[in-house]
Amino acid sequence: MSTLTIPVAPPRLAVGDTMPATTIGPLTRTDIVRYAGAGGDLNPIHHDEPMAQAAGFPSVFAMGMLPAGVLGQRVARWVGPENLRTFGVRFTGQVWPGDELTFSGAVAAVENGVARLELLVQSSTGGAVLRGWATTSIEVGP
């Protein structure tokens, strides 16, 4: 992954272009704890198994900002972090230890030097866990 070039200048994009689909996982409790420490979300429901089970969950589960953040990295690598104008996510399902997550996206519209991207995170157990959107500056011209 780190060998791929990240765009610096606005990229050339057209409707239907796709983000290279990538997968991470199976997600471990260590992955969740690592994000808790990095991002500052110490809600025990995400790392304290007895507490999560007492609250009625089968186990701990990931904070939504973990797949959201990974999606942000994938989008930034695709279009260039300094070209992104907006990035948004809607959390639609929970992410559990053992899940494999697949990140995908495509250009939905292009207008006035801006491309609108539609993004998706799917889990191996629960379908769509996150829907995302973004806008990016793009190269304009012949």
């Binding site: 990095a38 429901i45 900002m65 990974v70 930034a76 972090p81 300094e82 992104l84 809607r90």
Partner: protein
């Protein structure tokens, strides 16, 4: 329970640095081991004028907030046992990079109550945070929707 009277109120102000160590840790936690996200030499080699920021880097503000990431939810009275993070959205207004220090001002933009699916009342809170650089310019805006499900 989320208090509807808090709509429009400021929540808190946090000053925080975008420092290499936390950004390296964040990129690794986001399954992106590329040194371009924290190493000035790698960033220069990749063609960037300075180390670029990941889209969700403003999450680092939570380390400088008493109570961490949960503090805003607790400040509006949310019952954490019924609370869901519905949406998050970022608007990147102006360039920002490693080494900058930002000031984040969070406020309660709106609180809306709806009929829950199983009866009862569902509450949606929209929180907005503006991040300013050292010159006082807004560089990033973040909007979060929190959902408190009905009892």
């Amino acid at each position: 329970m989320i208090d509807p009277a808090l709509a429009g109120r400021p929540l808190d102000r946090v000053r925080f640095p975008l420092d290499r160590s936390k950004l390296a840790e964040l990129a690794r936690a986001l399954h992106d081991p590329d040194p371009v996200w924290h190493d000035p030499e790698a960033a220069t080699a990749a063609g960037f004028a300075r180390v670029p920021l990941p889209p969700t880097a403003t999450v680092l503000a939570d380390h400088w907030r008493d109570g961490g990431a949960l503090a805003p939810a607790l400040a509006i009275g949310a019952d954490l046992g019924r609370l869901l993070h519905g949406e998050a959205e970022w608007e990147f207004v102006a360039p920002v990079g490693v080494g900058d220090e930002l000031v984040a001002d969070a406020r309660v933009a709106a609180i809306e109550q709806r009929e829950g699916r199983r009866g009862g009342t569902m509450t949606l809170a929209t929180l907005e945070t503006e991040f300013r650089n050292g010159a006082g310019e807004v560089v990033v805006r973040r909007r979060d929707t929190l959902i408190e499900t009905s009892v």
